[in-house]
Each structure stands twice: as structure tokens, then as C-alpha cells.
């Protein structure tokens, strides 16, 4: 990981924003040195120049200087504001996920990382990603707090039980980079890591095609929705529809019975499955049973992916960022009813 040539003390700059963080780091080192050298020099100079010549001498009193105090309050304040603004801009970029990302689902578990690609490829403690594409991790955990940390990408984010956190990056260098768990998670915390492999996009597509034996998250979700959990019996539309329509709602705001409205996103769908009576959509009865304890975090991720697919919110899970051909996922852009019919064939 120390393969960069000019300063061996830094990890590789392997993501699109790594250089920004390094530049901010250099700026801070510069400020620190510019601040520390005069102070240390002054202390040493005074300590030598004004060293005691006479035991218990009483030098002239100097009370202080308001002008100096104001000057050395304002100057550090202004400098610290430049540091604040630089850090805030970079942070804002890091946490504002762009639209055209390739989505990978991450589930943390004591003590391993489980990754699932949009095409269904699953990996444990290894993550293959293509160079030059924007990648979004949608992350949750089955147990305690974890934290995805990839030093070469200069990014990390906590993975929190009961909610989805996201992290995005665009790898800019092929190679093998450390992946760590940075939030203490118990016995084998220091063993909970692995590697991120950044590949040329073509190699990545081959890799993805080669091992893609499993179902995609959308397919798994669809199977759960239609067959295994019976969601379709209420949500599949038609005369018997007792539950809210799910087609076309992703990313919209729905009105709730209590008059509030809520945006349909990962968090909302997850909550509606686990705690359905919490946020009932206007016009419906709170009759849906909870699925808490019946679905695992990985199944929830799949259900979310499927429900998302019902609203044509597909580019995110497309395996390739090139003008998307018909992927398995976008084929499901039909009504739930026909989807159900298809899956029953």
C-alpha cells in the first residue's frame, strides 16, 4: 500500500477525492509548522536570553497588551476558519452521493464484511470495484456498530444497526488496498478486514460476468416479495389491494395518516417492513403485520432493492455505468402484478 513514490509516509491516493484530503493535510502541516516554529523559537530564545543572572531577581513588571491580545485572537480565528471551510467543503463532497453511481450493498457482521453487487455477485471480506466509476455502498449491520474504512480512498463511515448509511468513492488507481473495520466491534475487531481490489473496467466486467451465479438483489427481493413473504397478496395491485401501491413511489413524498409526509427511501421502506404501524400511508388501515425477526438484514436489503426497482430507479444498481443496456434489474420495470405473473411461470 506504500507504493507511491514521492513520500513513503502516506497511503496511495486511490480515489478521486484522496488528493483533496492530502492537500488539506499538507495545508494544516504548513500552518502547524508556521505556528509552532515562531513559538518554539521565541520560548527558546527568551529562555536563553533572559536566563536568571541573579537569584530571585525581580524584573520589571509587564502587565499585558490589549492590542496584542486582540491581534493574537483574531489571527488564529481567521486561520481556523480557513481550516473549517476547507474541511467542510471536502466533507460535503464526500457525503453528497452523486446520481450515477453503481450500488453495492454491504452488511457488517461480527466479524466479517458481506458485499453484494447489483448483479448478484457476493463477496466476503473482499470487494472488487472498477476503476473510474462512482461506487455507492449502502451499508447496514446485523449486530453491533462497525465502520468501513479504506485508507487509500481517504474515507470511512460507520455502519449502524437499524439504519442504512452510505459511502461513495471513485477509485482512480488499480491495485489492492486495505479494508479495515474502524469502529470497535468486539473480540475479533482487528481481524475484521480485507482487501478492496480496483480493476480496469473491462477486467471488472469480466470478473463480474464470470462469477455471477447468484441472483441479483432485485431478483432475491422479488422472490421474497411474491413467494416467500407474501407481500404481493396485499401490495400487488388490483381489486384486492389492501396495501399501498409500490410502483412509482420511490423517491417521492407520501402522505401519512397523521398528516405528515415522508420521503420513500431505504430507511422508510425498511421501517415499513419492520414496524408497519409506525408510518401508515394515508388511505390505508394499519393492518400490516410486522416482519421483524422474520427477515434478515440481507433479505431486507434485497427487498429494498426490489421495491426501488418498481419505480425504475435503476441506474444505481446497474453493473455497468456505460449507457445502460437492458440489465436483469431494469427488466423488472413493470408493474408488480406482471412481475408476480412472471415469477410464477
Amino acid at each position: 500500500m506504500q507504493s507511491n513514490t514521492w513520500i513513503p509516509l502516506f497511503p496511495d491516493q486511490a480515489s478521486s477525492f484522496a488528493w483533496q484530503i492530502d492537500y488539506l493535510y499538507f495545508y494544516l502541516i504548513l500552518i502547524s509548522v508556521a505556528f509552532a516554529i515562531p513559538i518554539v523559537a521565541a520560548i527558546l530564545f527568551f529562555a536563553v536570553k533572559y536566563r536568571e543572572t541573579d537569584k530571585f531577581a525581580t524584573p520589571d513588571e509587564i502587565h499585558g497588551s490589549t492590542t496584542l491580545e486582540i491581534a493574537w485572537s483574531i489571527i488564529p480565528f481567521v486561520i481556523s476558519m480557513t481550516i473549517f471551510l476547507g474541511g467542510a467543503l471536502i466533507y460535503y463532497n464526500q457525503f453528497r452521493v452523486p446520481e450515477d453511481t453503481m450500488e453495492i450493498y454491504v452488511v457488517g457482521k461480527q466479524w466479517m464484511w458481506k458485499f453484494q453487487h447489483g448483479t448478484g455477485q457476493r463477496e466476503i471480506n473482499e470487494l472488487h470495484v472498477p476503476k473510474g466509476r462512482k461506487i455507492k455502498l449502502t451499508m447496514t449491520t446485523e449486530d453491533v456498530l462497525h465502520d468501513v474504512f479504506i485508507p487509500a480512498f481517504r474515507t470511512k463511515a460507520d455502519v449502524v444497526p437499524g439504519r442504512y448509511t452510505t459511502l461513495w468513492f471513485e477509485p482512480t488507481m488499480t491495485g489492492k488496498f486495505h479494508l479495515f473495520c474502524a469502529e470497535y466491534c468486539g473480540l475479533n475487531h482487528s481481524g475484521m478486514g480485507g482487501w478492496v481490489y480496483v480493476m480496469e473496467p473491462d477486467d471488472f466486467d469480466n470478473w463480474l460476468a464470470g462469477g455471477g451465479t447468484g441472483q441479483t438483489p432485485v431478483e432475491i427481493g422479488k422472490d421474497l416479495f411474491n413467494n416467500r413473504l407474501g407481500c404481493a397478496s396485499c401490495h400487488a395491485g388490483g381489486a384486492n389491494q389492501r396495501g399501498a401501491k409500490l410502483e412509482g413511489i420511490w423517491g417521492t413524498n407520501v402522505k401519512l395518516v397523521n398528516g405528515q409526509s415522508v420521503k420513500v427511501d431505504e430507511e422508510y421502506v425498511r421501517n415499513s417492513i419492520l414496524n408497519p404501524s409506525g408510518q401508515v400511508v394515508e388511505g390505508f388501515q394499519p393492518i400490516m403485520p410486522t416482519f421483524k425477526g422474520q427477515v434478515s438484514e440481507e433479505q431486507l436489503v434485497a427487498l429494498v432493492a426490489y421495491i426501488k426497482s418498481l419505480s425504475n430507479a435503476q441506474p444505481n444498481t446497474a453493473p455497468m455505468s456505460n449507457p445502460a443496456p437492458a440489465t436483469p434489474a431494469s427488466n423488472t420495470n413493470t408493474t408488480a402484478k406482471t412481475a408476480a405473473a412472471n415469477s410464477n411461470k
Binding site: F10, L24, E69, P76
Partner: protein
């Protein structure tokens, strides 16, 4: 009216606080703030030794990339216990409970703290919390990290979370009572003429610290209580499966634990102001600015807790506010640094052991403070948090800052506390070893952190080993430097030269009474007619007066 009391005592035969009764009972039931301070000194030092042994174990384990000395379960307990013992039983109480307790009444011309029984109670509470914690550590310890993050601590850890939590809960009351006592004392017990702006800066610093103690500590007590309820009854405060929020715990925890850093560092800054002034024989430059910067740090310290959670999924906008406020706190800290430096200007500087510790403090605090800016800046924080960069930063601030200030203060006031002079030579050696050892231990960790080595790892990738070897080597120098005072200070108790009332020729009130002081502190109620740190002739005459009175007693 207190004047009258003081007059009466002046004619009594002279016993100092140490010779006023030798039975165990006379110590355990004392209401004398000085005796209580000495009992704190012994027990807090014992906890420092325990925490230090854990630290040594951690550094030995990290000498090699594999977890070979300890298996990971043991390692997790060792770093947790190192943190718990050091933070709650050493760093937080060390200066207020020992030096603050001993000196606050002496410095403001009072006979004791305002609430002497409460003071003894706070010591007993500290012991109770400490014994419970030690018992839990011996039974098998705790492995949650000193931060006790949920849901690991509430649902997953099989260790003694409850017992250690209870120990910390109990110990918190000791802190609250000490803070309360200091505030009441500074408000009500100042000698005639001791106005607020004549208070020594160590008193200001302890006053600001006391505010943080009584406002912040109840929050950690409540947090630990909620943790216990959640762990036992599982009611869903922090558990998302039943509607709770694991991030809520972090908010509550850091609302106390960030200000707790100021409980550690503010009193130390007070000591540094005293030392720099004394050993350059100058009034502290910009006294009012230093006093108010302590208060400013205490107040702003309550508004920055969210900077521990930039990567936790907290909202971006909350993060912006916390980052901004964190940067604001840098200003009063910078003011102190500039003022201390300016105090040296045209002084008459001597390099006694306490001053060497003060110089060391300035160096370490400079590095610790500046690296705080790295972590307060959100973009960098994302990369650096939970790595060795943060381990290094908080050791520079909390340990470098607090321990060097404490050791400086302990050496400076040792003659007053014990009536004996220690070996100046060994004191200087210790100060230098601590400074060099500290930097050798922790500076490599900044680089390790930027390279990406996560904290709390029992085993780590091999490329991190070289810097870890430096760090462990430094730790052994640091350990030696910290052990020396145990030897020569204890040695001085028996073999040390007898100390004068005022060995440093300082105008402060604590030097205008015998060393060690009598039980009632002053033979006569002092009347203050001078500003703090007036090394001018007028006050020197007073010192002469004090010395003559002292000679007359012998």
C-alpha cells in the same frame, strides 16, 4: 470574625497538618483538606500505576504485528481497562483532587474548603467507585472500550460492564462534590482583599473546571444509568430493534466526555501559568485574558461534543456546526500559549525541575492543540478518526497536557506539601526523560494514523511495524521517566533537606505560611494588599515578614 479565630490560633504551639495526630483514625476521619489531598495523592497514584502497567502491556503487544503476547480477547480488555482507569480514576481527579484540594484554600487565604465533610465524603466515594472497579477488573474485566458504545455494551459484551459502569457512576459523584466544594469555596472563603482579579490563575482554572464538573458529570451518570437499564431490562433506549437509537448513546456520552477533557487540561493550564510566572519571576502576561480564556474553554467545551461523530451518520449540517465550534475553541487555547510565551519576555528565567516540566508541557500542548485542528476539520476527520492519529492526539492533550502539568505542580508545591526538598538533579532528569519518551512514543502514531492503522487493533498489517517499534521503545523511556519521581520523591520524605516556608520567594499566599502548613493553614488571617504574581519589593518585604514569623516559631 474569622480574624479572631486566626489570632487565637497564632499563639498555640505549632504542629503542622502532618504531625497533628498519627493514628489511622486521625487520617480517615479528618476534615483537613490537606490530609484529604494526601490520601488522594496516594490512591490516585496507585491507579496511575495500574493504568501504566496496562499501557506497558499494550505497547509490548503492539511490538509485533501478530497478537502473540495477548490474544485478542485479552487485548480488548487491557486497552479498555487502561482507558477506564486512566480517564476516570487518574486524569479527571488527579489535579483537582490532589493539588486543587491542597492548594485552593491556601491560595485564597482560607482555613479549609467551605464544605470539609463533603470533601471527605468525595474521597470515600472515590474509594468506593475505585474498589468496585478494581474488583470487576480482577473478576475478568471489561472489553467494551472506555466509551461503552452501544449496542456492543448493552447486548453483546459478556464482561463486567455493569460493575465497571457502576464504579464510574459512583466515582462521578466524587467529581461533582469536589466541583461543588470548589465553587462554594472560591465564592465565600476568600481572605479580605482577595478580589476575583487577585486570584492566582490556578484558582481560576480550578473554578472553571469545577463548573464543568458539576454541569457535565451528572450527564455521564445518567448515561451509565440508561446503559445499565438497557442492559438489564432491554427496554429499547439504544436498541434500534425496539425503536431505540445507538447514536443517542454517543450524543449523551460525548456531551460529558468531551468537556471531561477540559476537566483534565484546564487545571493543568492553571499550574503552567503559576510555574511560568514563578520561574521567570514575572507577572503573567495578560492575566485577565488567561482567566477568561479558562472560562471560555469551559463554556465552549460543552458545545463541541458532536465532533466525535462526524462519521457516525449524524447529519452533515450538525457536523458543520460542531466543526465550526471546535475551531472556535482553538482561539482561547492559542491565547494561553501566546501569553505564556510573552510572560517569559524580559523575565529572569531559572530552569528548576518544575519549569522543565512546564516547558515540556508547552511543547506537548502545542503539538496536541495543533493536531486538534486536523481532527476538527471534517474532511480530514473522516480519514483520521478511529486511527492512531486520534490515539496520538488525545494522548498529547490529555496525558501530555495533564501529566506534565501535574508533575510540574507536584514538584513545585512538594516542599509546601511535605516540608522537604527533593533532588533537583533527578527532577530535571525525570522531566527530560518524560518529554523525550513521550514524543518518541506518540509522534510516530500520527504517521501511523495517516497511513491508516486503526485503533484498538490487537494485530495489524506488517507495514505498520517499524513505527510501532519506535513507539514501544519510546514508551519504555517514558515509563522510566515517570517512575523516577516515585523513587526520589519518596526518598526526599526521609532524606530530603528541610524546606523553607517560601523556597521560591513567591508572593502567593500559600507561601506565606509554614511548610508544611499548620492544620488551620495560617497563623493569622491574611489580608491581601497585592495583585497575584507581584514579585516587586513591597511584597518581598511581606515574604521576609513571613519568614521571620516562621523563624520565631522554631
Amino acid at each position: 470574625m474569622q480574624n479572631v479565630d486566626a489570632m487565637n490560633i497564632a499563639d498555640e504551639p505549632k504542629v503542622n497538618y502532618l504531625t497533628n495526630g498519627f493514628s489511622l483514625r486521625s487520617w480517615l476521619l479528618t476534615k483537613d483538606h490537606k490530609r484529604i489531598a494526601i490520601m488522594y495523592l496516594i490512591t490516585v497514584s496507585a491507579f496511575f500505576l495500574i493504568g501504566g502497567l496496562y499501557a506497558a502491556t499494550i505497547r509490548l503487544e503492539l511490538l509485533t504485528p501478530q497478537s502473540d503476547l495477548l490474544e485478542s480477547g485479552q487485548y480488548n480488555r487491557v486497552f479498555t481497562q487502561h482507558g477506564v482507569v486512566m480517564v476516570f480514576f487518574f486524569l479527571i481527579p488527579v489535579i483537582p483532587a490532589i493539588l486543587g484540594n491542597f492548594l485552593l484554600p491556601l491560595m485564597i487565604g482560607a482555613k479549609d474548603l467551605a464544605l470539609p465533610r463533603i470533601n471527605l465524603l468525595s474521597l470515600y466515594i472515590y474509594w468506593l467507585g475505585g474498589i468496585l472497579t478494581l474488583w470487576a477488573l480482577m473478576q475478568g474485566g471489561v472489553d467494551t472500550g472506555w466509551t461503552f458504545y452501544t449496542p456492543y455494551s448493552t447486548t453483546f459484551s459478556n464482561t463486567y460492564v455493569m460493575a465497571v459502569g457502576l464504579g464510574i457512576f459512583i466515582n462521578g459523584f466524587s467529581s461533582i462534590l469536589t466541583g461543588l466544594n470548589f465553587i462554594v469555596t472560591v465564592h465565600t472563603m476568600r481572605a479580605p482583599g482577595m478580589t476575583w482579579f487577585r486570584l492566582p490563575l490556578f484558582v481560576w482554572a480550578n473554578y472553571a473546571t469545577a463548573l464543568v464538573m458539576i454541569l457535565g458529570t451528572p450527564v455521564v451518570a445518567i448515561t451509565v444509568l440508561l446503559l445499565a437499564i438497557e442492559r438489564v431490562a432491554h427496554v429499547g433506549i439504544f436498541d434500534p430493534a425496539i425503536g431505540g437509537d445507538p447514536i443517542l448513546f454517543q450524543h449523551l456520552f460525548w456531551f460529558y466526555s468531551h468537556p471531561a477533557v477540559y476537566i483534565m487540561i484546564l487545571p493543568s493550564m492553571g499550574i503552567i501559568s503559576e510555574l511560568i510566572s514563578n520561574f521567570s519571576r514575572k507577572k503573567v502576561f495578560g492575566y485577565e485574558f488567561i482567566a477568561f480564556s479558562s472560562i471560555a474553554i469551559a463554556v465552549f467545551g460543552f458545545l463541541v461534543w458532536g465532533h466525535h461523530m462526524f462519521v457516525s451518520g449524524q447529519s452533515v449540517y450538525a457536523g458543520l456546526v460542531f466543526s465550526f465550534l471546535t475551531m472556535v475553541v482553538a482561539v482561547p487555547s492559542a491565547i494561553k500559549m501566546f501569553n505564556w510565551t510573552a510572560t517569559l519576555y524580559k523575565g529572569s528565567i531559572s530552569y528548576d525541575a518544575p519549569m522543565l516540566f512546564a516547558f515540556g508541557f508547552m511543547g506537548l500542548f502545542l503539538i496536541g492543540g495543533l493536531t486538534g485542528l486536523f481532527l476538527g476539520s471534517m474532511g480530514l476527520n473522516v480519514h483520521l478518526t478511529d486511527t492512531y492519529f486520534i490515539v496520538s492526539h488525545f494522548h498529547y492533550v490529555m496525558v501530555g497536557g495533564t501529566v506534565l502539568g501535574y508533575l510540574g505542580g507536584l514538584h513545585y508545591w512538594w516542599p509546601k506539601m511535605t516540608g522537604r526538598m527533593y533532588s533537583e538533579f533527578w527532577g530535571k532528569i525525570s522531566a527530560m526523560l518524560v518529554f523525550v519518551g513521550f514524543n518518541l512514543t506518540f509522534f510516530p502514531q500520527f504517521i501511523l494514523g495517516y497511513q491508516g492503522m486503526p485503533r484498538r487493533y490487537a494485530a495489524y498489517p506488517e507495514e505498520f511495524q517499524v513505527l510501532n517499534i519506535f513507539s514501544t521503545a519510546g514508551a519504555s523511556v517514558l515509563g522510566l521517566g515517570m517512575s523516577l519521581p516515585v523513587v526520589y520523591l519518596v526518598h526526599s520524605l526521609v532524606f530530603g533537606k528541610k524546606a523553607e516556608a517560601n523556597p521560591w520567594m513567591h508572593p502567593g499566599l500559600e507561601w506565606r505560611t509554614a511548610s508544611p502548613p499548620p492544620t488551620e493553614n495560617f497563623d493569622q488571617m491574611p489580608v491581601v494588599t497585592w495583585d497575584a504574581y507581584s514579585f516587586g519589593e513591597e511584597s518581598e518585604l511581606d515574604i521576609e515578614g513571613a519568614r521571620k514569623r516562621e523563624l520565631a516559631k522554631v
